[in-house]
């Protein structure tokens, strides 16, 4: 028998060991790998429920920025199956960067309205997130339009996070579609003049700063209110939540509220493509959508799912009929307008 040189066999053993420990996930069946920019704690209950139901193990990596860059660099070696993110602009960016693949699924097409998914199935929205007005409890205010934020009567009374945050650039992009770039620029200048503090921090800081009397009104996402008002009594979050009420503003012309999405796509080189589609289908199921609504306070994409009482108390959601792809189109322009008026300075 010919003897293998020791060094070669040792190398081979080492390589096998490395392949077994590090590359194992590519070989095994019954897995799906998720790259997500969504906060793991928010989606973990959904993933756990999926694993319990299907037996498919979900690997996750929570990537903050650079999801596209990472998947692009990994190329055909990428272990990613599903790419999940928030904001329509980010979803469209994934598709445009060529890191997704179109998938067809009757379930997905039935549940998700046509304007909330890529026409070729290259991306799917999974939940809706309306951007609303937080109002100090003692303020007598019934209805509101986004345009009114620039009204000088709110001088020194408005709080909002950085204008460059995707939640705000999406709102501004929608306004560009509705009112035109020039009117939007004027509006931004007006809002800037009304700011009570720097455009910084997070959405929940709006509620905190209203409680702290820094401002009276502010723009933030609705689901945070669900989190805050449902928080344990006595906690800070509960105090902030209890200090505010919510008005769903509308765009002057359309009479709809600005809504952004969270969504997902199947990765171009997904090693477990079928499981990827399976996971997406699960995420729009009655059970998962109910978790989105109850645990996360997001607005379900599936019709007829029961809402959390706090969110239900905001009244019916009249979604701005503007196609979400229109919002994605104006995002860069919105970001440049924010710079131009020095909104964050």
């Amino acid at each position: 028998m010919k003897r293998t040189p020791f060094s070669l066999s040792a190398l081979r053993a080492l390589a096998l060991a490395a392949a077994a420990t590090l590359g194992g996930n590519a070989l095994a069946a019954g897995e799906v790998s998720l790259y997500t920019t969504r906060e793991p704690k928010l989606i973990q209950p959904l993933l756990d429920a999926y694993t319990k139901k299907s037996g498919v193990k979900v690997n996750t990596v929570f990537v903050k920025d650079g999801l596209i860059e990472r998947v692009k660099a990994e190329g055909d070696k990428s272990p990613a199956d599903v790419l999940m993110t928030v904001d329509i602009g980010n979803l469209i960016d994934l598709v445009e960067a060529g890191v997704t693949q179109p998938v067809q699924s009757r379930t997905l097409e039935e549940v998700i309205p046509a304007n909330l998914r890529g026409s070729d199935g290259s991306w799917y929205a999974l939940s809706l997130r309306d951007r609303v007005l937080y109002v100090a409890n003692d303020l007598d205010l019934k209805a509101f339009s986004y345009e009114e934020l620039a009204d000088p009567k709110w001088k020194g009374k408005v709080c909002i996070r950085s204008g460059q945050h995707p939640y705000n650039t999406a709102l501004i992009a929608a306004m560009i579609s509705h009112d035109g770039a020039e009117a939007t620029e004027q509006w931004l200048r007006g809002v800037k003049a009304n700011l009570a503090r720097k455009a910084a921090g997070g959405d929940r800081d709006v509620a905190r700063d209203i409680l702290g009397a820094i401002c009276d009104i502010g723009i933030a996402n609705a689901y945070y209110v669900g989190h805050m008002k449902n928080a344990e009594p006595g906690t800070d979050a509960r105090k902030w939540g209890d200090a505010i009420k919510v008005i769903r503003p509308t765009f002057g012309k359309s009479k709809g509220t600005h809504v952004n999405v969270s969504g997902a796509a199947v990765a171009r080189h997904a090693p477990n493509r079928d499981n990827a589609v399976g996971l997406l289908e699960y995420l729009v199921s009655e059970e998962a959508q109910s978790l989105y609504a109850k645990a996360n306070y997001e607005y379900p994409i599936r019709k007829g799912v029961e809402l959390d009482p706090v969110v239900a108390s905001f009244g019916p959601l009249e979604v701005d009929p503007l196609p979400v792809t229109e919002i994605a189109k104006h995002r860069k322009q919105a970001s440049e307008l924010v710079d131009k008026v020095g909104f964050d300075n």
């Binding site: 081979r12 390589a15 096998l16 490395a18 392949a19 590090l22 590359g23 996930n25 590519a26 906060e39 704690k41 996750t60 990596v61 929570f62 990537v63 903050k64 920025d65 650079g66 860059e69 990472r70 660099a73 990994e74 070696k77 990428s78 272990p79 960016d93 950085s162 460059q164 945050h165 995707p166 650039t169 503090r197 720097k198 455009a199 910084a200 921090g201 997070g202 929940r204 800081d205 905190r208 700063d209 409680l211 702290g212 009397a213 820094i214 989190h227 344990e232 906690t235 800070d236 979050a237 105090k239 995002r331 860069k332 970001s335 440049e336 710079d339 131009k340 020095g342 964050d344 300075n345």
Partner: protein, 587 residues
Amino acid sequence: MSFSFALARRLPRFRRPESGGGWMLAAALIALAVVAPLASLAWSAMDASLAHWAHLARFVLPQALANTALLLAGVGVLVTLLGTGSAWLVSAYDFPSRGVLGWALLLPLAVPTYIIAFAYLDLLHPIGPVQTLLRDLLGYDSPRQFRLPDLRSLPGAVFVLGFVLYPYVYLSTRVMFSTQAASLLEAARTLGTGRYGVFWRVALPLARPAIAVGVSLALLETLNDIGASEFLGVQTLTVSVYTTWVTRSDLAGAAQIALTMLAIVVALILLERHGRKRQRYASTQRMRPMQPRRLRGAAAWAAVLLGWVPVLVGFVAPALYLAVETWKRLHLVGGVSDQLLAGAANTVGIAAAATAVTLACGLAVAWAGRAMRESSRPQPGRACARIASLGYAVPGTVLAIGLLLPFVLIDRGLGGVLEALTGHAPGLLLMGSSTALVIAYTLRFLAISTGALEAGLSRIPPSLEQASRLLGETGSGTLRRVHLPLLRPALAASALLVFVDAMKELPATLLLRPMNFDTLATWLYAEAARGTYEEGAVAALGIVLAGLLPVVLLARTDLKMGQRQARPGARAAAAQDPEPQKEYRTP
């Protein structure tokens, strides 16, 4: 002097041809590894038109430049005052609690800037404890009647960053003061210089390289900080890079701004080095401690008060806040979860590995670039050291993006070889394991160890090495037996800094980590991303506590070391001991 010079000139003849070459090669390879992500960034930067510069120049850069300059100036002044002042206080004076203060001053290092920013926003918020107390004292019952200016401002950011970053200056300056030749100070005193004169005219100029190293580390941290600046609403250049990349999906544009910033940073660092090019800091004197002057009465209490302010503001207040928040939530969290414990283990494991690698690389680079003789001729080793320090001068996120491509290229190469050998495609070896993180941390924090070790080496006179080599020791043997013992304070200091920095590192960790892998920082970030900062208090406290242990341990060994070394004839004399003669070999 002329004798040692002559020796230095003749030294090469004694050297075996290969000695020193290995170190140069190692240094060159390390420098190459640092250049790789920057080259990949430059590659990305080529991909864009220059059209957006018009927009940037008109609307973004003027404000961002002004903000950045003001922030750097403010933080620079604050860290220099706090760092040098406290280092001099504990070195030159003796007062109650001086011993504890000596290491307590390092504690803010354990607190990441993003944590201190949110802690202070909460503490100083109109509904926070400070303003509530103030209102009670002043007789107001609502923040509508009375509130203080908002922390979210440039001065607020200077305050927050200054009080967590001053230990960089304190640490390097303290080591300098404690190992400085006391005889110089005494000579100045005998020649009639006053107590203050000694500080301003002797101690401070001698400590300049140490101050420069500490301040530049603090300023680079400030420049590349995204967490605290963004949170406090200060639009710095780094925030602009970030906005260009993330909000406008323009990686090429972001890479262009980042590289331009890097060029400016490099220019500034070179300028500072040029400023002290002709100066020599090596001391041939035996090192002896400064005799601290015992303070009594009011002066002693003033010293206690002054000395403890940075610790209280930079550490005690935010740490207490986190402890209270954790305590309040303990019943909600139900103790510490297994995942959090796994995250803590990951954090300590990777940070320790990165520290070891960073120290080894830093030593190789600093040793290859050391001054072998009294000459200011440019040396290739020095160039490697400068290049190796570049990783610290780019924001963590930007470095991480630059690393993606090199990592995947290596992974493909390795994967191809392994597949040929085993028939199995191994997947991504670096990116699929935490190796990528260890390498990323090393490249990012190499400047810390290189800087500290270079400063340490600069204080060891070349004559020691010349003597050792003349007595027949090899280059590596000299490093091991003469320089390493002398470098121990610098090694301890940089190990501490690298460890806590690695533990706090967030942006590169987020981008490069493998699947199902959390560190305390990413755990905390995940909470913060939901906007539930206070629920991240457990993880934040974990980071602070995990950082505390090495801070205390290393600070203590470091100080002991400083004292022992400073004892007449202890360590410094070791090199001149007759002992090496026993192993005398003729070359």
